[in-house]
């Protein structure tokens, strides 16, 4: 079965994957077209209409400054998705770098890289990211940096495992008999042939990255007001959680739905790419 056939079959028979794919598509479209779809400016203050309940004019209501929550959720989508993608790309990049060095060089280098990875993995990632952001300083950028660093070891392990098994393939050995330098072998053979598991890990990691970044903003370490970031919005909404439920609910729900969407899709892609999985 080709990739497309498998993909179609899974989308057809596995509802959850289809739902995940739908959510991800929607989230990405919203992120890209936020300025076009949004009815208002996310930062325009309208004090007379503050804390308004959801209505036709303001679908998700307004916040304590009278800003349109629907607009801010749409813009938040753009922030969360780009933050998530940036985190995942940075972690994957360094994971590929260190993982391939570790697997290829072996010996002491491997020992050092793997000990550090294992140490990082042994901490709860949220706690570690928190500590890192606290020491790097507040702000969305530092949060992204912290979460990226915490997530690197996942890719290091994955890529190292790939290198170790691919190194034994005869086409890699053949390349060595032509005098291919390590750099060539990693770039031409190891990375292309490890790309599928890396992509699955990245999709699965996206939901997690978005959630972690939002959590950090919720705690007050990440995105700072008035940035329309979901986590930060939920944080500002805490004071109004009981009487103005919509303020916290819509950004909160957006986080939930997005994270679930990426996770469902990630699981589905793993099934499509792994012919041994049941659904295939």
């Amino acid at each position: 079965m080709t990739f497309t056939e498998r993909a179609l079959k899974i989308l057809k028979y596995n509802r959850l994957t289809a739902i995940g794919a739908g959510i991800v598509l929607l989230v990405i479209l919203v992120g890209v077209f936020a300025p076009v779809i949004a009815p208002y400016d996310p930062n325009v203050i309208d004090v007379p209409h503050r804390l308004g309940a959801p209505a036709l004019k303001h679908l998700f209501g307004t916040d304590e400054m009278g800003r349109d929550i629907f607009t801010r959720v749409l813009y938040g989508c753009r922030i969360s998705v780009s933050v998530g993608i940036a985190i995942v790309c940075v972690s994957a990049f360094f994971g590929i770098l260190f993982g391939s060095i570790s697997g290829y060089a072996g010996g002491k280098v491997d020992n050092v890289i793997m000990s550090i990875s294992d140490m990082v993995l042994s901490f709860p990632s949220m706690v570690l990211a928190l500590a890192l952001t606290a020491s790097l300083g507040l702000g969305l950028f530092n949060t992204m940096l912290a979460v990226s660093i915490v997530k690197i070891p996942v890719y290091v392990r994955l890529v190292r495992g790939q290198v170790l098994s691919l190194k034994q393939r005869q086409y890699v050995k053949a390349a060595r008999t032509f005098g291919a330098p390590p750099f060539w072998i990693i770039w031409k053979h190891i990375i292309p042939n490890s790309l599928t598991p890396i992509m699955v890990q990245m999709t699965l990691g996206l939901g997690d990255a978005i959630l972690m970044a939002a959590s950090m903003s919720f705690i007050g370490l990440g995105a700072q007001p008035p940035t329309p970031e979901w986590g930060a919005m939920v944080n500002s909404a805490r004071a109004y959680a009981i009487d103005q439920w919509w303020y916290a609910a819509f950004p909160g729900l957006s986080i939930l739905v997005t994270v679930v969407g990426f996770n469902l899709l990630g699981d589905g892609i793993r099934d499509i790419l792994d012919p041994k999985s049941k659904q295939g």
Binding site: R169, Q170, Y171, K173, A174, A175, G179, A180, H189, N193
Partner: protein
């Protein structure tokens, strides 16, 4: 006698494996192999699975480093050359592996596969590479329409032809063939063997042909070396090895051949796998040998000339 193209002197390979407890275990995969390979000859290497044939190939092609001994390529000692200094010499020795499925990268087109060695080793232009690769494909009996297809679109035999073409891109003098046909159907096997014989004549290649099948080795090679437990136990003209084998182990191998076997009375008792462990002291074959004697248990028989051109490592077989 002319200078051999490739000379192995007392080549040893010991693999060190760390066990779970941090202890080391040693696998002596190749022991004291001395061998001269003349320009243009085809040398067969036979022996059962695990006797060290592939390890020997890896040592010659320098995918593994030697534990002891020397490798001399066309008069140059290449044993202790660093990878950087080895690079220009890698062109001269090439290998075709056994498994036609794992020997070609699934993500590369045939053109990418065949130009890879050229990109690494030469400074040819794109057009020159394309021309060269097309010619090579034709040489191995395929055509240029294959160039932009992927390995999974081909059969085992075709893949093996592509592997052969790849090994020939650098115009090697020595081609190591590590069981190139054992994964193929019998009919396909014959075609590939014929191709190899043709190529050898056309390109004046020197072959090191590895197989566990004596009949296949004989079809390709002028001389045959029989390996057991990492050592060469018999070496001679392929005809001699097939028709008048001397070493008890060679006789066991030949007795197992369906066509020739009946004519030759096997000297050996059936191989008992529990006794199949090679001995550190004395002859490695002593546990399976019907001619075993006291001396066999204490002293390792050296590979010595029995008749001109026919070498044997055995105490028990003497001239009658």
């Amino acid at each position: 006698m002319t200078l051999p193209l490739l000379r192995l002197e007392n080549v040893d390979k010991v693999f060190v494996k760390k066990t779970m407890m941090g202890k080391k275990s040693y696998i002596h995969a190749v022991r004291g192999i001395t061998l001269d390979i003349q320009r243009g000859e085809a040398l067969g290497i036979v022996g059962e699975s695990g006797c060290g044939k592939s390890t020997l190939a890896s040592l010659i092609i320098r995918l593994e480093t030697l534990t002891r001994g020397k490798i001399i390529l066309d008069g140059t000692d290449v044993t202790s050359l660093k990878e950087k200094d080895l690079r220009p010499l890698r062109r001269f020795v090439q290998i075709v592996f056994q498994d036609p499925y794992s020997s070609l990268s699934p993500r590369m087109t045939v053109e990418e596969i065949l130009t890879e060695p050229l990109k690494i080793m030469t400074k040819l232009s794109k057009a020159e590479m394309h021309a060269k690769v097309t010619a090579l494909l034709e040489l191995v009996g395929m055509n240029a329409s294959c160039l932009d297809r992927y390995p999974h679109e081909f059969s085992g035999g075709q893949r093996q032809r592509i592997s052969i073409a790849r090994a020939l891109t650098t115009e090697p003098e020595i081609l190591i063939l590590d069981e190139p046909t054992s994964a193929l159907d019998v009919s396909v096997q014959a075609q590939v063997l014929n191709l190899l014989n043709d190529l050898r004549q056309k390109l004046h290649l020197t072959y090191i042909f590895i197989s566990h099948n004596l009949a296949v080795v004989k079809y390709i090679s002028d001389r045959t070396a029989v390996m057991y437990a990492g050592q060469i136990v018999e070496l001679g003209p392929s005809e001699k090895i097939m028709l008048e084998p001397l070493h008890p182990y060679t006789r066991e191998l030949i007795a197992a051949l369906p066509a020739v076997g009946k004519k030759l009375k096997p000297l050996t008792k059936a191989a008992d796998m529990t006794e199949n462990v090679a001995q550190e002291r004395g002859c490695p074959y002593q546990n399976r040998c019907p001619l075993v004697d006291l001396r066999c248990k204490s002293e390792r028989p050296p590979l010595a000339q029995f008749e001109p051109g026919h070498f044997l490592a055995c105490w028990g077989v003497t001239k009658s």
